[in-house]
Amino acid sequence: MKEYLRKYFILRKHNRQVAFKKAMKSKMCYLFLLPYALLFVLFYVAPVVVSIFYSFTYYNILESPRFIGLQNYVSLILEDDIFLIGLKNTFLIAVVTGPLGYIMSFLFAWLINELPRWVRSVAVVVFYAPSIAGNCYVIFSVFFRGDAYGYVNAFLMNLGIIDTPILWFIDPTYMLPICMLVILWMSLGTGFLSFVAGLQGVDRSQFEAGYMDGIKNRWQELWYITLPNMKPMLMFGAVMSITQAFGVCDVTMALCGYPSTDYAARTIVTHLFDYGFTRFEMGYACAIATILFLLMILCNKAIQSLLRRVGT
């Protein structure tokens, strides 16, 4: 045992020396990476650490932070009803729009894959445009306007389905479904592009081989050949759609107002803004941010381990 430990430490020391020598040799590499690494640490790593640190304190910017242990988390979960509404809404939106948007992205990418080249280019633009069009979702507030002049209301009233206009963005029962609709409309984003590109790159000879082995229809082709080939893109797309699904706030804030009626359209992120930038309770806001961070990372890891089994 002692001998083993001694050898282990010698090995470790040797490895470290090798690493150090390599590092000295590749000074230029570090120099190249330095600007990015510096900014990355400053604006991505440090904030997460800072956020976790402040989540254990009471901090309102004016006074210096005071350590209060787990108090923030306890009051978040036990006392803050609005946070629980936000959590519930975020989960609802994520569970509906995340998988659905993801499947839509893949489905449309797959369906347009066999179109002639120029049609495909147009189709990509058409499908991708909503997600890139910035604040274009504001236009939905015209469609779903609360008075009888709103298109949807007018349409439904003409058909005789309803006799009084529905206040789409003020009535809590309709807020979330409409927001989900808008989010789905914008969900063919980066993941979609990745899928389109990935599908183009699938080796054609594999399909040939597949026909020889008796693949009969396009669904079998999809499951046995296309999906396993697309695994890296599927992973990437999943990361994109999870990140997006949990970060919903722009759409709900723009359409339902901030704050919305009865907080019916509150999400974790809007709650974060409320405490961070309106009430300046930074410690509390950091606790919310930390919870969101953990949720996203855990969800990503879970989905990734699930996706590893695709097509095997």
Binding site: A23, S26, M28, C29, F32, L33, Y36, A37, L39, F43, Y44, V45, P47, V50, S51, Y54, F108, I112, L115, A123, V124, V125, V126, F127, P130, I132, A133, G134, N135, C136, Y137, V138, I139, F143, S194, V196, A197, G198, G201, E208, Y211, I215, R218, P232, M233, M235, F236, V239, I242, T243, F246, G247, L272, G276, F277, A289, L292, M296, I297, Q304
Partner: protein
Amino acid sequence: MSKKKKQETVEAVYHKKLVKRRKPNRSIAGDIGLYVFLFLVAVVMFFPIVYAVSNALKPLDELFKFPPKILAQNPTLDNFSDLFVTLGKSWVTFSRYLFNTVFITFMGTFGHLIVASMGAFVLAKYDFPGNQTFFKLVTVAMMFTGYVTQIPNYLILNKLGWIDTYWSIVIPAFASPMGLFLMKQFMEGLPTSLIEAAQIDGASVWKVFSGIVMPNVKPAWMTLIIFSVQGLWNNKAATYIYSEEKKTLVYAMQQIQSGGIARTGQGAAVLVVLMVVPIAIFIFSESQILETMASSGLKD
């Protein structure tokens, strides 16, 4: 030259054969059904955008017509010129908002392109201690949205004294993990022999980077640019910037839209200004972007 052409024709014939042979797995009815379905979905997806554009082109009397027409009957550019005329008299003019957004977008994208490419280059092509770890960290950073870091970022920017300057938006945009990720994945596809050959000829790392690698990854440039522009052009920036004269176009749009019925036309026009730039960049660089995205996969 002729040899290459010959090869191409051979490939084309080969390709044609493949397409023909793929047919057995496709029924014509299924194909037609799919295309009709796709077409319908495309119409639904694109309708709001068409509507937004036509709204911006409608003169004021048409905007309030009921029942409304989807397409403008007498399209004018009045709403766009109104943006400059009416808002030209306000304290912060429309052109100032436009300038702010353009400046932030341009600076942020330019810096991001250079900084991220430099990082991606060494991560992709050189082996040094810490290489893998750092890249893993970057991929983890893609897994959470910017909202998580917004509050601590405010505190950090405050310490740096950048609050209420353009830099509070521009500099953090340099470090976007997405750009580095895509660039690195794409650069890995470059043949290493290219770099080795240059090194044997005595080129320094910088020379290799600027002379050989960068010109060869032009498609990836466009991808970085589109993602960066998309983020910055739509940046509301209201949390880090509070001086009115430094605020961006999105903020101006919200102001205009809350200005009531009289501003409906202008609101529609700003909306179009906001969405036309990213879409135009995307249309012009679609093939290059797709080329880059082909290597975007996330390996374990």
